[in-house]
């Protein structure tokens, strides 16, 4: 190979070398991101013999740069010649696995796992295992911590003798003097569980799991919960009761709230794979303990999962009734707002699980209490799911029990609560029927169109459309239109705009005749309003109504009106009027 050609091929690496000496971090980062391109340019052999060794020396840099380096190294397998040579990328990664910054180490472990996927069993035995051993017995806790992440991928691909050694190494790491290493080991345990076989699981891993669950660092203990979840998927019923449940019970009574919180967080994931009977016998009492916990965070977390848990044991209705419902009643009097908000969220979902009779007897009084709370999120959570409840208890019961309280919320101080009630009304309307709606709810519904909050007025207008779809356009004409026309005469320009907006959204439901004969004359009156905003909105409204008007109406009635508006001195009025006129021609 001539010197010239050789230079050409090394040149990109020389450029990289230069760039990685640059002071500016951004430039170093940019050039690292191009490693794949460089590797492709220089070819597989030179990548292995020159690029990778060079990168091995580039591992003394800022954490930001090292993060990118680890990431890019994980992508190099195809450029070194495929799985056969993947192990050549291991040296720089091994160095990176020992750095101080956790984020970089984690990325490195990910990268090692990524390239190991391309390696065959022989390579893993020959190259990855020594790396793991080196890291696991390393002097610094950082390398030992990284080693924990590599066990699962290594274990699957080595021979029996090596497997035994790996288990011994792992056992040592679980007993490491440094808490950070024990943490990584606890994390690694869950991943390793599926691969070690039942016998080793029972004899070696489970004792390690129990020991880590008794660690004096709470950050290590809380990882035991995740390990419980992993074990619940693998063990038999009896094994689970014997080996896991005692540990779980002590975690649920741990002196550190973080551990107890973890139990609450993962509870339903834990109970899902096991038989409802086991759940009923052993886990329900643990759950109730969490619902009564001293720490607000734990109670809140557990409360959010009430419905899901009851769903899992729904065959045991009496357990729900005797054990769980009384606790729920206590929770509704909890002094913490967050607990009550969580309760409001999960207690509506309980209704379909316990059936009509129980809901009416036990849950409806609870909903009533919660709806009277002064916390808007509580009320919001109940109202937004009220539909679920209605389907269970039937409308007659709803009307006599909950409806009066819901009606009070029409005028709640918090606008988001009012908004939720408005969204709920059409669903009520379908079930209540026209008669009931007219008597009690029409006036209140119309008053929302004059609400002081803009968003509410918009939602209320769109609500009218939903109601018209249920009750028909005749009903709308008779009961709604007169009120809307009155809005057009209100002094406040924003209410006039709401009136026009309501008519715009109702137009498709009402049909051309009503639009032409009833609506158009009323809104045209606004063309001489003194406020420019009314006039510009009128121009917009006329443009939206064009599809519902006959051609001669447009020419004789609408066009002259728009021409007048187009001469207004306000530029926005002119703009919208002109835009409408353009649509006509």
């Amino acid at each position: 190979m001539s010197d010239q050609k050789k230079d050409d091929e090394i040149y990109p690496i020389a450029v990289l070398v230069e760039e990685l000496k640059n002071e500016d971090v951004q430039l170093r980062l940019n050039s690292l991101r191009q490693i794949s391109t460089i590797a492709q340019a220089v070819g597989q052999e030179r990548t292995r013999s020159e690029l990778i060794p060079f990168l091995n020396d580039a591992t003394d840099d800022e954490d930001e740069v090292l993060l990118v380096l680890a990431d890019e190294l994980g992508n190099l397998v195809e450029f070194v010649g495929g799985g056969e040579y993947a192990h050549t990328i291991l040296p720089p990664l091994t160095t990176l696995a020992s750095v101080e910054e956790t984020v970089v180490r984690e990325k490195t472990v990910e990268a090692i796992k990524k390239i190991s996927k391309e390696m065959g069993e022989d390579q893993i035995q020959e190259f990855l295992y020594p790396v793991l051993k080196q890291l696991a017995t390393g002097k610094w806790f950082t390398s030992r911590s990284s080693a924990c992440g590599l066990f699962s991928i290594c274990y699957q691909n080595v021979d029996e003798e090596t497997k035994t050694e790996l288990r011994q190494l792992f056992s040592d790491l679980c007993k490491d003097p440094t808490p950070m290493v024990r943490r990584s080991a606890a994390k690694g345990l869950a991943v390793l569980v599926p691969y070690v076989g039942r016998e080793n699981l029972r004899k070696e891993l489970i004792p390690l799991f129990v020991k880590l669950a008794e660690d004096d660092q709470d950050r290590v203990r809380l990882l035991a919960v995740d390990n419980c979840v992993a074990l619940s998927k693998i063990l038999t019923e009896d094994e689970f009761i014997t080996y896991v449940i005692p540990t779980l019970k002590s975690c649920a009574k741990d002196r550190s709230w973080r551990v107890r919180y973890m139990v609450a967080e993962r509870f339903c994931q834990l109970s899902e794979p096991i038989e409802p009977e086991v759940t009923k016998n052993d886990l329900v009492e643990v759950f109730i303990g969490l619902l009564k916990d001293n720490e607000e965070e734990v109670r809140t977390c557990a409360t959010l999962r009430i419905a899901e848990l009851c769903g899992q044991i729904r065959v045991y209705q009496d357990v729900i009734k005797d054990a769980i419902l009384p606790v729920i009643e206590e929770l509704s009097k909890d002094f913490s707002d967050n607990v009550k908000i969580a309760l409001a969220a999960s207690v509506t979902e309980l209704a379909p699980i316990i059936g009509k009779e129980m809901t009416v007897e036990k849950l409806v009084p609870l909903y009533l209490d919660l709806l009277k709370e002064d916390i808007s999120d509580v009320k919001l959570n109940i109202i937004s799911k009220l539909d679920t409840v209605t389907q269970v208890i039937t409308i007659e019961v709803l009307a006599s029990t909950l409806l009066p309280v819901v009606v009070e919320l029409f005028e709640d101080r918090q606008w988001r609560v009012r908004n939720a009630v408005i969204e709920y009304i059409p669903k009520l309307a379908i079930q209540l029927g026209v008669q009931f709606f007219d008597e009690k709810l029409t006036d209140l519904t119309m008053s929302w169109l004059k609400d002081s909050v803009f968003k509410i007025r918009q939602t209320a207008a769109r609500n009218l459309v939903k109601l018209t779809k249920v009750f028909g356009s005749d009903w709308c004409m008779e009961h709604l239109l007169p009120h809307i026309f009155k809005l057009l005469e209100e002094p406040n320009y924003k209410i006039k705009q709401t009136g026009m907006y309501s008519l715009t959204v109702l137009a498709p439901e009402l049909g051309n005749e009503i639009v032409t004969e009833k609506i158009l004359p009323k809104i045209k009156n606004l063309k001489s309003d003194k406020v420019a905003n009314v006039k510009l909105y009128l121009a917009k409204t006329l443009k939206s109504l064009l599809p519902y008007l006959e051609e001669n109406t447009i020419q004789q009635e609408v066009k002259p009106c728009l021409n007048e508006l187009a001469k207004d001195e306000d530029p926005d009025v002119k703009h919208f009027a002109t835009s409408a006129l353009n649509k006509i021609s």
Partner: protein
């Protein structure tokens, strides 16, 4: 520059490109340069106080008061500093001004200047989001062109801070050359820094700029200029707004839970066609509404 596209991007609390911002600022200056030191506004109009970069609370304000395309708004300054989204907030209002110049009016606050924004967060935010100070420079150019005061229907006077001992009549304000960096003293500085106080006349301000002024001063000013009300911002109000001096002056504050820690509510003042007054209050936007999708732009490098 496609103004509708820029508004669309900003309405999601995202930032347009540096080039688009430059064009937006240039276009805004073209409009603002024509405006007088005292804006003449025909009621109805909704008056708002300090926003201080609290973008999602500005969205709450629009949810309460109406869409800025259909409602008349007057903002009394202090759009930047302290909140996390000063840039998006200011540019959003600027874009709305460019799109509907007749619907929305913006005044200069004491934070709309180079010195203050270098200390209280706006400059840092620009550098963090764009890697350099160009965007900050474009914005401070716009600040120099913002109007100082407004007169609504000949009877309501609006300014960010308060009154100045050098200004007895509104006509005098027209003589000021406003297109400059905010001076340390003088009538322009006073109007953006002064505070009302329960005294009779003038006093030294603890802020180190502007003055404090009292009952007699306000009554005289209003009488001389035929005003029924002065509206201003500049000072935090726990209840969102605060009347003083027999309802002849009111402070309106529109940043709820100011600086994400004060626990106050905010207010807007709706002035009707016939100069009727209605205050509406609002709280900070709930957590679920405060989400921004961050776009990562990795600069490309060519071998």
């Amino acid at each position: 520059m496609d103004i509708d596209k820029v508004i669309e991007v900003l309405s999601k609390c995202q930032t347009p490109s540096e080039y688009e911002i430059k064009q937006l600022c240039n276009k805004a200056i073209e409009i603002l340069i024509e405006e007088a030191n005292v804006l003449r506004i025909v009621p109805p109009v909704t008056i708002c106080g300090d926003i201080h970069g609290q973008f999602f609370d500005l969205v709450e304000l629009f949810d309460l008061g109406g869409s800025p395309f259909e409602t008349n708004y007057l903002f009394m300054g202090d759009f930047v500093d302290r909140g996390y989204y000063s840039l998006e907030t200011f540019l959003y209002l600027l874009a709305l001004k460019v799109k509907n110049p007749r619907r929305i009016s913006i005044l200069r606050g004491n934070h709309e200047c180079r010195q203050i924004t270098k200390v209280y967060g706006f400059y840092l935010e620009c550098v963090k989001k764009y890697g350099n100070g160009n965007v900050w420079r474009y914005c401070t150019e716009v600040f120099d062109h913002l109007s100082l005061t407004a007169l609504i229907g000949n009877s309501i006077f609006s300014v960010h801070g308060g009154l100045s001992p050098s200004i007895k009549t509104i006509n005098q304000i027209s003589l000021i050359n406003r297109k400059q960096e905010l001076p340390h003293e003088g009538p322009m500085s006073d109007m953006l820094w002064s505070d009302p106080e329960s005294i009779q006349n003038w006093g030294m301000s603890p802020r180190g700029a502007g003055f404090i002024f009292g009952n007699e001063v306000v009554k005289n000013f209003n009488r001389t200029n035929g005003l029924s009300l002065i509206t201003r911002a500049h000072q935090l109000c726990m209840d969102g707004f605060q009347y003083m001096f027999d309802e002849s002056l009111v402070t309106v504050w529109s940043a709820p839970n100011y600086f994400y820690r004060s626990g106050n509510i905010a207010a807007i003042l709706e002035i009707g066609e016939n100069l009727t007054r209605q205050f509406k209050t609002f709280k900070a936007a709930p957590k679920e509404k405060r989400i921004v999708k961050v776009k990562m732009s990795i600069p490309k490098y060519f071998l």
